[in-house]
């Protein structure tokens, strides 16, 4: 129970902090209001007959329009009051309307904008996360079987080096390789966007086209992470294989596969499950720079667009969704562990 209260408090605090920072403590309000004032003035100046109006009429109309727009955007209340309203809306998952960004269908509803992008990010990054988890798990267990072998040492070195280099960086290098250096060989893999322009009309070739565009970013994502996954799995498996019961199982003459499945993999599963579920959730957030490098129109790009166009509701919306997912997952993991392992009790850490 104490754990739940703390998780909720953590959630509230982090969302409120997000609201403050995403609005730059109210600074973005100033930027937006002065932008609105400027827009109204230039719009009115272009209206025929505006210059003939007497000065007091001009000021009055300007002020009226300004007040209306400010009110429509909800900027008339002081920032502190609004931040509390934002917090309440965010916690009740009422994500509100974006200030500038629109979805492809034309609405400004933040939830629609996010939902429109989410499948694309899931398609790329969740597939990738599942891919490198499985690959890493398989390789890690193989490495742990014969620690110190050449295979183990090479994979470890690969892991040590790749884990220091981010995916987007490999992305740029692979784009250079596939977009240019291999072109004379007749290999051309698309390195940007999600579909060809114009997109194919019939569904089958559309799916094929998306998969074709997905190939390079997916490969990059898996390539840059599976090494460190294998290494983590290896270390966990090594820990459990040093236990006495593994020795006993070996002495009993069980086959290597049986030992791995029953005695090594199972006790290492909790930390592996934790890492996989946490990286799955963060994969839904997309990767800002990797998506930007590959021009992949997912949540990462949306995050960047929102920041670039100073659109706090979208930034807050994305963070709120992520925070909720994270907190709920942590809670479920805690619950699952207390069921799996009676030594762990929820609430005591």
């Amino acid at each position: 129970m104490k754990r739940v209260v703390f998780l909720i408090l953590t959630l509230i605090a982090s969302i409120y902090l997000t609201i403050i920072i995403a609005n730059a403590g109210g600074l973005i309000d100033q930027i937006i209001t002065s932008q609105i004032k400027y827009d109204i003035r230039t719009n009115l100046a272009r209206t025929p007959g505006w210059s003939q109006l007497p000065e007091e009429d001009k000021t009055r109309i300007l002020q009226e329009r300004y007040n209306l727009t400010i009110k429509a955007k909800g900027l008339d209340k002081p920032f502190f009051e609004r931040s509390i309203i934002y917090l309440y809306d965010a916690l009740t998952l009422d994500l509100g309307r974006a200030l500038f960004l629109t979805s492809a269908s034309g609405t400004k509803q933040v939830s629609v904008i996010i939902l429109e992008r989410l499948p694309r990010t899931i398609l790329l990054f969740t597939t990738g996360t599942i891919g490198y988890s499985i690959l890493g798990l398989y390789l890690g267990l193989r490495m742990a079987r014969r620690p110190g072998s050449i295979f183990d040492r090479i994979t470890t070195m690969f892991a040590v080096i790749t884990q220091a280099i981010p995916a987007w960086f490999f992305g740029i290098l692979f784009i250079l390789l596939f977009a240019y250096q291999l072109r004379p060989l007749g290999i051309s893999i698309p390195f940007g966007g999600m579909v060809s322009v114009p997109p194919p009309t019939d569904p089958i070739s559309y799916v094929l086209d998306v998969m074709y565009h997905m190939a390079l970013p997916l490969f990059t994502w898996i390539f840059s992470i599976f090494g460190s996954w294998a290494y983590i799995t290896r270390n966990l498996a090594m820990q459990s294989s040093a236990e006495d019961y593994v020795m006993a199982a070996k002495a009993k003459g069980l086959s290597e596969n049986q030992i791995i499945n029953r005695y090594i993999l199972r006790p290492s599963l909790p930390p592996i499950i934790t890492s996989i579920s946490l990286s799955l959730i963060s994969s839904w957030q997309g990767a800002i720079i990797t998506e930007t490098v590959f021009a992949w129109p997912g949540l990462g790009t949306l995050f960047y667009q929102a920041i670039e166009s100073l659109d706090p509701p979208v930034i807050i919306g994305l963070t709120v969704v992520y925070a909720y997912l994270l907190v709920i997952t942590i809670f479920i993991l805690d619950l699952v562990y207390s069921i799996l392992d009676p030594r762990i009790k929820v609430g005591i850490r």
Binding site: T10, I21, A164, I172, I175, L176, Q181, I289, L310, Y322
Partner: protein, 465 residues
């Protein structure tokens, strides 16, 4: 259970592992390059890098010179004929009141490929009226192409032969006279250096004409005191050790200067965040109770906050330079994963007897924290610093790729981002991306290898169970 001891053990761990030795060796080389850059390339990077005039004599996007050895092809490098190498003949005709000046220079062009650009710079000195200038190129096959014939507008004129439309028109006429009609775009630097055949106007098929060329500039001025000097640059396709970029920067200078910037940036951010996070972890474990509770909760809040988006947002709203960026990074990572690990390491330290002894002789809590616990945490902190450096070097590069880095200092990340946004990937200007990328990767690798040697200090739980 034995906790790894002090810094001496740390050095031993590095020197006894192959990866540690390799990592240190690479790091020493990079440090050497940094020192070399600071001492031997006396170069005011920030102001010079952003001054286009300083780089005017370099070719645009030229490959590194060593490409010549790999391809076995004699790729042209830049030929510059300075004013003093021009032969100058001048005479004044009293009767007509005209002064004739001829500037004449020869150069050998024996490369296997065309120059990338041609430029003539004319420094004229006239008192009354503007002189009439004729620029001619005499080829080894004795053909003579008139590039320019007009009155000049300024005392110093840059004739961009490869891009100037009037000059292109003249080159087109030159081709027409030779009987080569073409409706393709004219590339003067290719046509003028091509063998006279039907492919002369075709930039893809034209063949290079080797031999001795002559550039001839004739002026007709109106005053006896009028004079002129000229400079000719045939830009090559290779330059220096690292090539050049689109703004003609010598990338070698940028890359060499990138080393100290990257090291300073990565190290200072890593050192500050590791020390702060470890200290808070130790504080949390040692004081326990409400302090522990607060630090733990704040750490969890910090772990939910989207670090990169906030960093991007802040660098977008405020114009920040590299060093302010470090401060913001530190502020955004006061708490984090290291806090949690440091806390559990501190719990282990606390159970040791010398802490008990310290308590029993009445040492204050603060004294024990700083003099008994923190020194024992040092190996862990150092290992973390080493492991964190690559992440910060890449973070700077990532912000540069998004266009939010320091706009003035040439960092490796900024060079890559410039290359990326100029389409170097698509045009195949590989050196512009690959060389800085290699340097970043090698630097990251050095730290990763040392970090691997220190693995048991950075992940104390991993080895002890």
């Amino acid at each position: 259970m034995s906790m790894p001891g002090g810094l001496r053990d740390l050095l031993k761990a590095i020197s006894s592992s192959k990866s540690g030795i390799i990592g240190v060796a690479i790091l020493l080389i990079i440090t050497g390059v940094s020192v070399f850059a600071i001492i031997f390339v006396p170069f005011d990077v920030v102001s010079k890098w952003n001054n286009p005039i300083f780089w005017l004599e370099n070719p645009r996007v030229a490959a590194p010179e060593w490409v010549t050895f790999i391809t076995g092809k004699n790729i042209p490098s830049t030929i510059r004929i300075p004013p003093e190498k021009f032969n100058k003949y001048e005479y004044y005709v009293e009767a007509s009141g005209l002064k004739y000046i001829t500037l004449d220079a020869r150069f050998d062009f024996n490369y296997d490929d065309f120059p990338s650009e041609l430029t003539v710079i004319l420094y004229a000195n006239y008192s009354k009226s503007r002189p009439l200038v004729t620029i001619k190129l005499v080829r080894p096959d004795t053909l003579e192409a008139t590039l320019y014939k007009n009155v000049i507008d300024n005392p110093v004129v840059y004739f961009y032969i490869s891009t100037d439309n009037a000059i292109k028109e003249n080159v087109y006429n030159f081709l027409l006279i030779l009987g080569t009609n073409t409706n393709r775009t004219i590339y003067p630097e290719k046509c003028l250096f091509a063998i006279n055949n039907e492919n002369m106007g075709n930039s893809n098929l034209a063949q290079i004409l080797k031999g001795s060329y002559r550039i001839k500039i004739e002026l007709i001025a109106t005053d006896e005191s009028d004079t002129a000097n000229a400079e000719f640059i045939s830009y090559g396709q290779v330059q220096g050790l690292a090539g050049t970029d689109y703004k003609r920067h010598d990338l070698f200078i940028g890359l060499v200067w990138g080393a100290p910037v990257a090291l300073a940036f990565g190290l200072s951010a890593a050192i500050a965040t590791s020390i702060i996070q470890s200290f808070l972890g130790a504080l949390s474990a040692w004081y326990g109770g409400i302090v522990d509770e607060i630090v733990q909760r704040v750490t969890e809040i910090y772990m939910i906050l989207p670090f990169l988006p906030f960093l991007i947002l802040i660098s977008l709203i405020y114009e920040i330079n590299l060093w302010v960026l470090i401060v913001i990074i530190i502020a955004l990572s006061l708490f984090g994963g290291v806090t949690k690990t440091a806390r559990s390491v501190t719990f282990q330290i606390m159970s040791e007897q010398y802490i008990e002894a310290a308590i029993s002789y009445g040492a204050s809590k603060l004294r024990i924290l700083f003099l008994y616990i923190m020194p024992r945490l040092l190996p862990y902190i150092v290992a973390n610093i080493v492991l964190a450096v690559p992440a910060y070097v890449f973070l700077e590069a990532a912000l540069s790729v998004l266009g939010l880095g320091d706009p003035l200092v040439p960092t490796w990340g900024k060079i890559i981002s410039d290359a990326y946004s100029s389409g170097a990937v698509i045009h195949g200007w590989w050196w512009w991306i690959l060389l800085p990328a290699l340097l970043i990767m090698i630097t990251a690798m050095a730290f990763a290898l040392i970090g691997y040697a220190l693995d048991k200090y950075a992940n104390p739980k991993l080895r002890e169970r």
